[in-house]
C-alpha cells in the first residue's frame, strides 16, 4: 500500500480534523488519539494488512512511521 493511502485511511477512520498527518506526526500527541483510536488502528491493521496488532504493542509507538514499522515496512511503497 502507498504511504499516502495509509495516511488517508488513518485520517478517515480516526476522524482526524484539522490535522496535516504525515509519517513524522506524533500520533500520541493528537487530541483524538484515545482508546477508540487504538481500537480503530487494530481494526485497520487487520482489515488492510491481515496483521494482528495488540494494544500492548501500540503503547510503544509514537509516530505514524513507527506504526508503519510495526505493521511491517515491507507492506508499504
Amino acid at each position: 500500500m502507498k504511504t499516502s493511502e495509509f495516511i488517508e485511511i488513518l485520517v478517515e477512520d480516526l476522524e482526524l480534523e484539522n490535522v496535516d498527518l504525515a509519517v513524522d506526526t506524533e500520533l500520541t500527541e493528537l487530541d483524538d488519539y484515545d482508546s477508540l483510536a487504538i481500537m480503530s488502528i487494530i481494526a485497520i491493521a487487520d482489515e488492510h494488512f491481515d496483521t494482528t496488532l495488540t494494544a500492548v504493542q501500540l503503547a510503544n509507538i509514537n509516530t505514524v512511521q513507527s506504526l508503519m514499522d510495526l505493521i511491517g515496512s515491507d507492506k508499504f511503497e
Binding site: D13, S35, L36, I38, M39, S40, I42, A43, I44, E47, T54, A55, V56, L58, A59
Partner: protein, 250 residues
C-alpha cells in the same frame, strides 16, 4: 446435592474455557457428556479430563447448520436422548462501530446466537428429547446487559441470547424444557486473555479491578450450570443470572 446421573448433556465450545469446565463438572456429577468443539486436539484433552461415563466428541463447526442434526442423531443413537444443553461456543471481538459490517455481524451472530437457536430447535424434537424434559443453558455474558466501546457485535449477540432464551422458555415449557441464560463476568480463560490483548492497559486494569469479588474461574461458572442442569432447579426458566463477582453492580 446436585446429581446428574442418567443425564445426557450436550456442550458446545467444549474444547476450552468455560465449556470445557462445564463438561468436566457435569461428568463428575454423573452425566454422559457430548462434547462439540472445533479443535480436535483440544477436544481430546477435554474428553481425557472427563470422569467415567459414556462420553462422545464431535469436532465440528456449529455454524454448519445442515450438519447439526446428523451429530445429534448420532449422539442420541449412542447414548440416548438429551437432558441438557449448554451453549458455550462463542467468539468475541473488539471492533469499533465504524469498522463493523454485515460480514462481521454475521460471523459473530452465527456462532454466538444462531447456532444455539438451531441446536435448541433440533433438541426440542421428541425423537431427541428426554421424556422427563431438559434444561438448556446459553452462556451469555455480563456484556449482554452492559455496554462497552468496540463491542456492538459481541454485546448485541450476548443480549440476543437472553431474548431468545425467554421466548423459548415460554414456547418449550409444555415439553418440560427449561431455558435460561447465565451471564459470566471476567473469567480467566484463553478467550479473555485474547480480548485483553486488544485493549489498552488501563482499560484492562479497570475491567479486572471492577468486580467487587475480582475475576472468576471457569469452575465458578460450571457450579451454576451444574445446578441449572439438575432437577434442583426445576422451577427456574426464562431467566438470566449474573455470575460475575458483582461486576454489573458498579
Amino acid at each position: 446435592m446436585i446429581f446428574l446421573k442418567h443425564k445426557n448433556i450436550l456442550v458446545t465450545g467444549a474444547s476450552s474455557g468455560i465449556g470445557k469446565e462445564c463438561a468436566i463438572q457435569a461428568s463428575e456429577l454423573g452425566a454422559n457428556v457430548i462434547c462439540i468443539g472445533r479443535n480436535e486436539n483440544k477436544l481430546n484433552e477435554t474428553i481425557n479430563s472427563l470422569s467415567e461415563g459414556k462420553h462422545l466428541k464431535y469436532s465440528s463447526d456449529i455454524t454448519n447448520y445442515d450438519g447439526l442434526e446428523d451429530i445429534i442423531s448420532d449422539a442420541v443413537s449412542k447414548v440416548g436422548k438429551i437432558s441438557g444443553f449448554i451453549h458455550s461456543a462463542g467468539i468475541e471481538n473488539t471492533i469499533p462501530l465504524n469498522k463493523m459490517n454485515k460480514e462481521k455481524y454475521d460471523s459473530t451472530f452465527s456462532v454466538n446466537v444462531f447456532s444455539a437457536f438451531e441446536i435448541s430447535k433440533i433438541l426440542s424434537k421428541k425423537k431427541y428429547l428426554c421424556p422427563d424434559g431438559a434444561s438448556f443453558i446459553f452462556i451469555s455474558s455480563v456484556m449482554g446487559m452492559l455496554g462497552q466501546a468496540g463491542k456492538v457485535g459481541y454485546c448485541g449477540s450476548k443480549s440476543a441470547l437472553i431474548g431468545g432464551a425467554r421466548a423459548m422458555a415460554v414456547e418449550l415449557a409444555k415439553k418440560k424444557i427449561r431455558v435460561n441464560c447465565i451471564m459470566p463476568g471476567v473469567v480467566e480463560t484463553e478467550m479473555t486473555k485474547h480480548m485483553f490483548e486488544s485493549l489498552p492497559k488501563e482499560s484492562v486494569k479497570g475491567i479486572k479491578n471492577r468486580a467487587p469479588l475480582g475475576t472468576g474461574e471457569p469452575r465458578d461458572v460450571s457450579n451454576l450450570t451444574s445446578f441449572l442442569l439438575s432437577d434442583n432447579s426445576k422451577w427456574i426458566t426464562g431467566t438470566e443470572m449474573f455470575i460475575d463477582g458483582g461486576y454489573h453492580t458498579l
